[in-house]
């Protein structure tokens, strides 16, 4: 198990390196000259050249990439062109809101979606099944910003139950923190939830047709425990895969959600950086999100083993 974990962690290094190269090339090829942007509209050619010199933009591609990678390995993602603060620091400052949003979204989505999928499968073809799957399709097809505005209109503006926007750090108290995250999490998680509910239903239906379910029934086991103990554990591997892959949706959605709800997280940082062409920051956040994604999928890989003993490590 330990060796497997180490091997998997080592295996993520080339992945991360490829991601880094990809991001670097992407921004290298992106139109527009960052030096011009930074120097301002009425800067002279000499001033622009000076900025270029300062940022090392006149160096050959490989040298620039090597410099950047070397910095990366030291945890140095460069310095923001605008605020002049280290990118690492900018990201760390905004880590809590983003992680909070992600965590509550993951928890809310998964705890809602799995029972939904299980019940839909258990009652396949009934009106309950159709209602659940209908909701899932809805969650799937309505864009994040639309869900966001609809939910805050109902729960914040009309009912006045929850705050319209903003973020409270955990240090302000659990409830204050959570209150601000409920609507954003549901809005952000709706697509994710729909995805998990669907895969849960599909894989449960497949599992429920297996012979060992009949064996469990022949023992006298109850329907509920057959569903949640015998069947769900067998469906877990497919569900986990989608949970891991679906995190990509959450990352994309977080950028929008944080903007809509004024949550001062990394998503907002990304939007601001893109608007300002703050290249070091863009590179930093994209790399950071890729890292989170790879890490979550690593965790998923390790979790497979918990559910399916046949998966050899």
């Amino acid at each position: 198990m330990l060796i497997f974990t180490l091997r998997r962690i080592l295996a993520t290094i080339p992945v991360m390196l490829a991601v880094a190269l990809f991001i670097f090339v992407l921004l290298y090829l992106a139109p527009g000259d960052p030096a011009e942007m930074i120097a301002g509209d009425n800067a002279s050619a000499a001033e622009i050249e000076q900025v270029r010199e300062l940022l090392g933009l006149n160096q050959p591609f490989l040298v620039r990439f090597a410099d950047w990678t070397a910095g990366l390995l030291r945890g140095d993602l460069g310095v923001s062109v605008f605020s002049r603060k280290p990118v690492t620091e900018l990201i760390l400052q905004r880590l809590e809101p983003t992680f909070s949003l992600m965590a509550t979204t993951l928890i809310i989505s998964i705890t809602a979606a799995i029972p939904m999928g299980v019940i839909a499968a258990a009652r396949a073809g009934s009106w309950i099944d159709r209602a659940i799957m209908g909701t899932a399709v809805l969650g799937f097809s309505v864009p994040v910003f639309a869900t966001s505005y609809a939910l805050s209109w109902i729960f914040s503006i009309q009912l006045n139950w929850l705050p319209v926007q903003g973020y409270q750090p955990l240090s302000e108290g659990l409830w204050a923190w959570f209150r601000h995250l409920i609507i954003p999490s549901i809005a952000l998680g709706s697509v994710y939830m729909a995805l998990i509910a669907r895969i849960t239903r599909t894989s449960m239906l497949e599992v429920l047709n297996q012979d060992y379910i009949r064996t469990a029934m022949a023992k006298g086991q109850s329907r509920t425990r057959i569903l949640f103990e015998h069947a769900l554990k067998n469906a877990a591997v497919s569900i986990l895969t989608v949970i891991g892959l679906g995190v990509a949706l959450l990352i994309g959605g977080a950028v929008v959600t944080e903007s809509v709800f004024s949550i001062p997280g990394i998503g907002r940082l990304t939007v601001d950086a893109i608007l300002q062409r703050d290249y070091p920051v863009i590179q930093g956040v994209v790399l950071f999100f890729s890292f989170v994604y790879v890490l979550i999928n690593l965790a998923v890989d390790l979790a497979y083993r918990l559910f399916d003993p046949r998966i050899r490590l």
Binding site: R214, T215, M217, A218, G220, Q221, N234, D308, P309, R310
Partner: protein
């Protein structure tokens, strides 16, 4: 009173092509301590009949009618909760496919103790100890270690032994075994049959065994029910049946059986000598269900369904012209 009695059992499936009368009016009696075999070729409704006893067939397209009397109570009238107390406790079942019948993500020990915990008022440790005893009983060596293994770590024969351990853990009065040896190779088949026979004697369990292998029947059964297209076509004591079958279908089955000492390895040797296909049970069948394949068939067989008739003690057959009788133009 019989331990188990099926009266006019009908199990029908609604299908897009019409109603499939998989079991159509089956009568069967199983007395305490007895072993009854149901034989018949593939698709004759053996599995459906045996699974319907524990009401394991579910879904809205399936309907069971008639009576399934267990100790005088009709199981078809019980609610789900009462039914659960019967399953695995008073009547147990083992299945054809040991490779897939065990839950692949649950340890063997847990799968056995689960049955014990469901029906007996014991704690987990006691149940696990009992599970280990059951593994010993069914002849699995190193039972303690096996408790912690998963099904994929066991061979097919071992898995069927585990299934038997699960089935017998609560000392049921009836064991229903649906082709328990079909998926196993020949030497393992013999071992599993011996095990079933031995445990039956030791625990006094009555056995209803489903098979299409007459060799199995000869080995374990007291009485045989021959099924064809969802119906009982003949019933007799094993000795009588092998000595003088009444129904032409039974005769065909017996003739298709390899003689002692010949190899059984040819696939489908069993039915090699009965030409034709089993009649579809979808829709109404006119006349005798076996008429289209029968070597003694007459005009009347296509017109009138032969009723089950009694021939001597405990023998019945549904045939207008049973073997041994005179056929007008043969």
């Amino acid at each position: 009173m019989a331990l188990l009695e099926l009266k006019d059992l009908r199990v029908h499936f609604r299908t897009p092509n019409g109603i499939n009368r998989a079991v159509d009016g089956l009568d069967l009696v199983l007395d305490a301590g007895e072993t009854v075999a149901i034989v018949g070729e593939s698709g004759s409704g053996k599995s459906v009949a045996s699974m319907s006893i524990l009401r394991l067939l579910h879904g809205e397209n399936c309907r069971s009618d008639g009576e399934i009397l267990y100790q005088g109570r009709n199981l078809l009238d019980l609610d789900e909760k009462a039914m659960r107390r019967i399953r695995g406790n008073e009547i147990s079942m083992i299945f054809q496919e040991p490779m897939t019948a065990l839950n692949p993500v649950m340890k063997v020990g847990r799968q056995i103790s689960e049955a014990i915990l469901l029906h007996q008022n014991v704690d987990r440790d006691t149940a696990m100890r009992k599970a280990q005893d059951m593994l010993d009983l069914v002849g699995i060596p190193e039972s303690k270690r096996r408790l912690d293994e998963y099904p994929h770590q066991l061979s097919g024969g071992m898995r069927q032994r585990v299934m038997i351990a699960i089935a017998l853990a609560c000392e049921p009065s009836i064991l229903i075994a649906d082709e328990p040896t079909t998926a196993l190779d020949v030497t393992i088949q013999a071992q599993i049959l011996d095990l079933v026979k031995e445990l039956k004697d030791r625990l006094g369990t009555s056995v209803l065994i489903v098979t299409h292998d007459l060799g199995v029947v000869a080995e374990v059964a007291n009485r045989v029910v021959v099924m064809y297209a969802g119906q009982k076509v003949e019933e007799a004591g094993v000795g009588d049946l092998f000595a003088a079958p009444l129904h032409p279908y039974t005769e065909g089955l017996l003739r298709a059986m390899p003689k002692l000492g010949t190899s059984r390895v040819t696939p489908d040797w069993r039915l090699a000598e009965i030409p034709g296909q089993i009649v579809s049970t979808i829709g109404e069948i006119k006349g005798c269900v076996f008429a289209n394949r029968c070597n003694r068939v007459q005009e009347v067989c296509h017109e009138i369904r032969p009723a089950l008739r009694t021939f001597g003690s405990g023998r019945v057959a549904a045939c207008h012209f049973p073997c041994g009788s005179k056929v007008p133009d043969v």
